[in-house]
Amino acid sequence: MDDILSLAANNLVSPIILSFALGVLAALARSDLSIPEAVAKGMSIYLLFAIGFKGGVSVADHGIDGTLGLSLLAGIILSFALPLIAFGLLQFMSKLSRLDAAAVAAHYGSISIVTFVAATSVLESSGIASEGHMVAVAAAMEAPAILSALWLVSRGSSGQRMDNDLMREILLNGSIVLLIGAFFIGWATGPAGLAEIESFIVAPFKGVLCLFLLDMGLVAGRGLREGGGVMRPGLLAFGVLMPVIGSVFGLGAGLLLGLSTGGVVLMMVLSASASYIAVPAAMRVALPEAKPSIYLTLSLGVTFPFNLTIGIPLYLAVAQFATGG
């Protein structure tokens, strides 16, 4: 218990978390501090490329794990299933319309790659190894949740919400393609490839993550300032409860699959985290009547900071306890 607290405390004073906090505070104070959109997108491309590449190299290094296929399958099932739980919970805890509830649910089935990146960086600092192919699991979990949510909506109404264009957009959205592509590049080039570009994708990684989280903090803070009004207590509670519930499912899946301690942590983090890029874009196309102020504020303003500060150390402690690692 002491360990958890000290890890949590340690985590809280890391430059990464403090950069996020700085962003939130600056936005709440209405500072005009902002990171240009192009630079923020450039940093996210860097982070996706680096995390995918390193995952691939680790697979090349340790040989392909028997659990890869099963992990992918587990991830896909979780991504399909978690929105149903989220939806049920929302109908119980909040007064959201069916449409808004489905849109929110989609976000919680999908994943936040930055939360994943932050977790790998905590694992690294703690010297805990994890399966490189978890990166592929992350990519696999991005999309299925959207289908679940659209199914939830279509049960209620008529109206075809999904077309082939949208399906292609979701499956081939930039972050999935980059993550998977970099994963294969890392896999194909292996440690020799890593050696070539190590001083670009490994050494500065944490620093870029700091600036990226500064930007996320700015965006989250602005969201809270403007959309904070819609955050009824029930919704707020959902934003904290749902990741914990998700993490329990992730824990179960990780243990069933026999993943390493680090792998279990990452599976918990993926299940616990909520999307704020791919899913919102899909929702604007498929469910334009659902309110972004609700799903974005919840995902980015509540769940993301919760996971970043309390969630990750908590999941790590639980995973260590459960795997005895």
Binding site: D215, Y276, I277, P292
Partner: protein, 103 residues
């Protein structure tokens, strides 16, 4: 200089819908359009600004079509089918163009 009557249609719409809109426009035999970036705005669904975005979701663009007057209805019908359930504004004004052979 010789000019010709035309209409200038300006459609402000979400960036995620841009491709769908321009596909619909092209299907309505409109031969040209220009897309402008939008920094921010405000409307019934509240205000937003590009610096407050983390993704292409909820950013907007402005699509401008200069067309022959007799094409306006076809264009508006096509645009409306796409814009319908989505946020955005469509306006039309009279203008004159050079080089009518161009459009």
């Amino acid at each position: 200089m010789q000019t010709h009557d035309a209409k200038r249609v300006e459609i402000t719409i979400e960036a995620v819908m841009q491709k769908r809109l321009t596909d619909a426009i092209e299907a309505a035999d409109v031969t040209g359009y220009t897309v402008l970036p939008v920094l921010g705005g405000s409307g019934r669904s509240g205000g937003w600004s590009r610096e407050g975005q983390i993704s292409r979701a909820s950013g907007m663009v402005q699509v401008i079509c200069i067309i022959r007057p007799e094409m306006v209805d076809a264009l508006l019908d096509a645009a409306f089918a796409v814009v319908d359930r989505h946020i955005g504004v469509v306006s039309v004004c009279d203008c004159q163009v050079l080089r009518a052979e161009r459009f």
